[in-house]
């Protein structure tokens, strides 16, 4: 921790050193800290207003900072070291093994506009997708709807709205700092953050990751009780009632999007909390696995409406919770069997790619590579 002193006011704070932050400055998030919030919140956060005055509401100059011999644990769903894309020949040491690995695995694919003009499908060339039909099982037909999702990395700003929307739509429990620090967060959608370039001024890329609804799902074959199965519309369904909690599916999931109820995280006893929950979504108990469902309750709702009116579900009629709140419309959901749908359109783009496609999972969630149009003079300076 450090002690920050402005004039005669001082505050003890934890620091998190991030790549790209301007030298000689620090960002303090405003908030009062919590002193009397009961069991959940007492003693969490810091009162940043002690440093803020009406004379200098947003920027304070002349702050002094001093390292003090105290420790404060920060819980983060991302790695504590930085995930980065290695900057090429002169590798920066600061990014660590995670960065080198992320770069090698081409998880987030970024190109410049110029590169795109020369080679429009560059993103597809960065990985290797095995051809269809390598499986010993005959291919599965999806004659009706086939749900799919596309995420435009160029549009994603990493605002986290999708994470929050998903949490409230799907009754996802909030597990608290200790659990997050142990790596037990329950979010069905997460945003992976990547740094690219030099440590001093990196580019930041965001990649929302949720269940890929793989057509060849590695989780399904290993479940001993058939608690995760494929639907006729290509959803990878979780049958909570059937799950005994072997966690084998999560181990075999290369995307690590499955979440396990290590304890009984949901409070099902307090009556008032019933009002908090979405009545269309099962509240999960202890010892079962859960994960993104592509908001199956919304799909079923739309299906019922469409059947009442004796028609097909229209494109755009179903919006997943994450899609609905995305301020940049980076997320598109729909029927990939319908060639006119927006999601088919997105998946047909030259920038479309799947992550870890080389494993032959054939994910239904795909990404659009990010394009940048750098100003050459600015980039060089």
């Amino acid at each position: 921790m450090v002690e920050v002193t402005v004039d005669d006011r001082s505050l003890e704070l934890p620091v998190w050193i991030l790549p790209g932050h301007a030298d000689g400055s620090m960002t303090i998030h405003l908030g009062y800290g919590r002193t009397r919030t009961g069991r959940v919140g007492s003693g969490s956060g810091f009162d940043a207003y002690r440093l803020r005055t009406s004379r200098a509401p947003w920027h304070v100059a002349g702050a002094r900072i001093r390292k003090i011999a105290k420790h404060y644990e920060l819980a983060s769903t991302q790695l504590h070291s930085n995930i980065g894309l290695a900057p090429g020949p002169n590798e920066e040491p600061g990014f660590g093994v995670e960065g080198v690995e992320a770069e090698r695995r081409h998880l987030v694919r970024v190109g410049t506009l110029e590169h795109f003009r020369q080679e429009p499908d560059f993103a597809q060339h960065m990985g290797h997708t095995p051809p269809e039909g390598l499986s010993m099982y005959p291919p599965w037909d999806f004659p009706g709807y086939a749900w799919g999702l596309s995420i435009d990395l160029g549009a994603c700003t990493g605002c986290n709205a999708c994470v929050v929307a998903c949490q409230s739509e799907n009754n996802i429990p909030i597990v608290g700092k200790e659990m997050v620090a142990m790596g037990r967060e329950m979010h069905w959608i997460r945003i992976d953050r990547y740094f690219e370039g030099e440590l001093e001024h990196p580019h930041v890329h965001h990649q929302p990751v949720m269940c890929m609804h793989c057509e060849q799902a590695p989780c399904e074959v290993v479940c001993p009780v058939g608690a995760t199965v494929h639907s006729s519309e290509g959803l990878n369904d979780m049958v909570y009632n059937r799950c005994v909690g072997t966690r084998y599916c999560s181990n075999n999931c290369p995307y690590k999007v499955r979440r396990f109820n290590f304890f009984k995280y949901n409070d099902t006893e307090t009556p008032v909390l019933e009002l908090l929950r979405n009545p269309d979504v099962t509240v999960r108990t202890r010892g079962v696995m859960e994960k993104c469902t592509y908001c199956v309750q919304r799909i079923n709702h739309a299906r019922i409406e469409a059947e009442k009116e004796e028609r097909q579900i229209r494109d755009g009629e179903i919006q997943t919770a994450c899609q609905q709140v995305c301020p940049t419309e980076a997320i598109v959901f729909g029927d990939v069997n319908d060639p006119e749908s927006k999601v088919s359109d997105a998946k047909a783009k030259p920038l479309a790619y799947d992550i870890l496609a080389e494993l032959g999972t054939r994910p239904r969630t795909s990404y659009l590579a990010k394009l940048r149009n750098p100003n050459s003079t600015l980039e060089e300076s």
């Binding site: 998880l107 659990m179 009780v225 290590f262 696995m289 992550i355």
Partner: protein, 455 residues
Amino acid sequence: MTAPGKPPIVAPGHTPGSVTDQISSIVLTRMPRWWWAAFGASFALVMMLLYALTKLVFEGTGIWGLNIPVGWGFAIINFVWWIGIGHAGTLISAILLLLRQEWRTSINRFAEAMTLFAVACAGLFPLIHVGRPWLAYWLLPYPNTMDIWPQFRSPLVWDVFAVTTYATVSLLFWYVGLVPDLATLRDRARQRLAKITYGFLSMGWRGSATHWHNYETAYLLLAGLATPLVVSVHTVVSFDFAVGQLPGWHATIFPPYFVAGAIFAGFAMVITLAVPLRTLFDLKDFITIRHLQNMGKVMLATGLIVAYGYVIEIFMAWYSGNWFEEFMILNRIQGPYRMQWYALLLCNVLAPQLLWIKRVRSTPALLFVVAMFVNVGMWLERFVIVVTSLHRDFLPSSWGMYAGTRWDWAIFVGSIGLFLALLFLFIRFLPMISIFEMRTIVPKTQAREPDEVSP
């Protein structure tokens, strides 16, 4: 029959009568004071195990150190470790019986018992490692009103079959082998309760020629049944990993490498138990240096296969050209769990090399030390396979770290307590060396000194 220069499998000077006296007296006389102390200590550990299990059932799997990405930890490590240890018994009993290796006779009984207890400990872990243990029976195919069956493509279902079959056949094999000796104990017991119990368990054995004929047939058949199980069980256990697509798990070398590892671990545990027991109960005449030497040789041979497995894993990571595999090996060598990997190499590859030296093989204390290294090393091997593969897999954003909590340790140590407690009870109530089989080999050991054979 002793080849010249080899130590005998029974010390000279024994008669069938003296064999029976010495082995059955362990059961029929009062236990020495150290037995009570040792049994008490292991029983205390069993109580700790029960306490930890109760907490686990009431609070949840979260009391362990598991997380996402490391969804399997101590429970699976312990399961594979115990089931591996449980391999030596059947190997010694069945395969060595079929190969007519007579030296097996004095160690087979307690090796079989050890197998049973190790399988019991192993069987505990798949049950408790699931999130909802009270529903673990859903892995069994049983008719139910919902008409739902297990998902037969999952290796965990294969595991259920493999382990339950193994446990059943091991129990039968052990029990059938015990019947003639139970009759001996029935005849020699003085207390009424002991007479009735042993009499009940010996199923009316009177030692007639028909009895012996039936017995020999049944025992041989069971040996034939048990033999493929020695190979199949750990093969299926290795499928838990090999069928997954995780780098570090997804390897075709796993079945043979696991089976060799299991025999390696099993013999190490037999030595770990045999060395102190032969001293404490004065059984040096029956468990001789020859036995220890042979077990040391088996350990060395299987240890070399295991070492070959390690080398092939590294070679395949490079040869496959699969970057995920390559990274997995680099992460083992340089990553945060590298110390466990180096310790594993020390215990499983370097330590057994001492067994090339005859003096080490024939010195019980040194053999015991090597066996202890192997016991630890085989646990570490499973730790490396389970945890080091899981903690850094495909997406760096999801990487994490894992460490066992005190409850992980309590259950692990508690399971060792359970194993030892069962073993001490076995020593107390059943003959730990097969009396009648020892009697059959006594005349052979003395064939060269006809003068000394008692009338």
